[in-house]
């Protein structure tokens, strides 16, 4: 249980960012005609920030199928995240795997995988991180919906920077060698180009695939170099 609490507490530095986004989501949901209870229900049931934002944005014009498809496409990056934690979850029961997948977010995944890499992670830590982000996201969504238009845009105060900065802090755990650094630099550049020139969220998964593939390729090159 100690690890559960460690995981839960590890989400605290990221919580202000989650809360800022949650408030914004709740307020936006109100504007397209959700009741506070409905806005809350979406967060409790779906728990996927960027997808919820996108869906609220298209709510008045789109039907069920586009909404579900949009959710699917925006969350496709979780396939990559899932694949990369899967080896660490191998020994767990199917029930535990199903439970950990349920609330896996970008933030809790990043915290958990960094801790696994340090050799201190386990499923309780992962669950704690999932629960921490879930609580922050769902509660702030409800709050935002209740407050309605009373608070101004949180991004004006840079609150949306909490995530990138938190991810930056976590990134250092993976820059142990030259290849890790090369992967981060190349993927970052690729994602930047993609964001500027290609619309949509596809770029995260494409850059993630290509960038991690580059890591493997460089590893092979290095290996051939040493053995020759």
């Amino acid at each position: 249980m100690k690890n559960f609490w460690r995981g839960l507490l590890a989400t605290l530095p990221l919580a202000p960012g989650v809360v800022a986004f949650g408030l914004l989501y709740g307020m936006m949901a109100r504007q397209v005609g959700f009741s506070p209870r409905e806005a809350w229900a979406m967060s409790l049931i779906v728990h996927a920030g960027s997808a919820q934002f996108a869906v609220v944005g298209m709510w008045e014009t789109a039907g069920v199928v586009p909404i579900v498809l949009t959710t699917l496409v925006i969350n496709l990056r979780h396939l990559l995240l899932g694949a990369s934690v899967a080896p660490y979850l191998r020994g767990l029961s199917p029930l535990w795997k199903a439970l950990l997948a349920l609330w896996m977010s970008d933030e809790s995944y990043a915290l958990a995988i960094a801790e696994y890499e340090r050799g201190q992670g386990d499923h309780l830590y992962f669950l704690g991180a999932n629960v921490g982000i879930y609580l922050a996201w769902t509660t702030s969504g409800l709050l935002g919906a209740l407050l309605g238009a009373a608070i101004p845009d949180p991004s004006q105060y840079g609150l949306d920077l909490f995530f990138p900065l938190g991810f930056l802090g976590l990134l250092t755990a993976f820059l142990k060698d030259r290849i890790g650094v090369a992967v981060a630099v190349a993927t970052g550049a690729l994602a930047l180009l993609g964001t500027v020139f290609v619309p949509g969220k596809w770029i995260i998964i494409v850059a993630g695939l290509l960038g991690s593939g580059l890591g493997l390729a460089l590893e092979e090159v290095e290996r051939a170099w040493i053995s020759s």
Partner: protein, 101 residues
């Protein structure tokens, strides 16, 4: 009430993306795939950070987020701490913001 049905549809789509790989790769992960997957976290994290810092509105911009991220990168490099990275980056953001930059 049909809102609830849509929410469950969205939840199902989300769960599919989160659970599939964890379930499928449950047993033996091939060594080559395993080595490849080790590079996924730095790749995905960088893909999330760089555009948010340098192109927050989808256009290349050397604004406050970029300076905050550079300060954050320096703090991250020195401390390897999530908390201090956020504190350092936000401090730079807010100072520049108050200076009206």
């Amino acid at each position: 009430m049909d809102k609830l049905l849509i929410f469950f549809g969205m939840a199902l789509a989300t769960y599919f993306t989160r659970y599939t790989m964890i379930a499928v790769l449950g047993r033996e992960v091939p060594p080559l795939l395993q080595r490849w997957l080790r590079y996924v976290p730095p790749a995905v994290l960088a893909a999330l950070v760089v555009p948010a810092a340098l192109a927050p509105q989808g256009r290349l911009a050397l604004g406050l987020p970029a300076w905050a991220a550079m300060a954050g990168a320096f703090v991250a490099w020195r401390t390897r701490s999530v908390l201090w990275t956020i504190v350092g980056g936000m401090a730079v953001f807010w100072i520049l913001w108050m200076l009206g930059a």
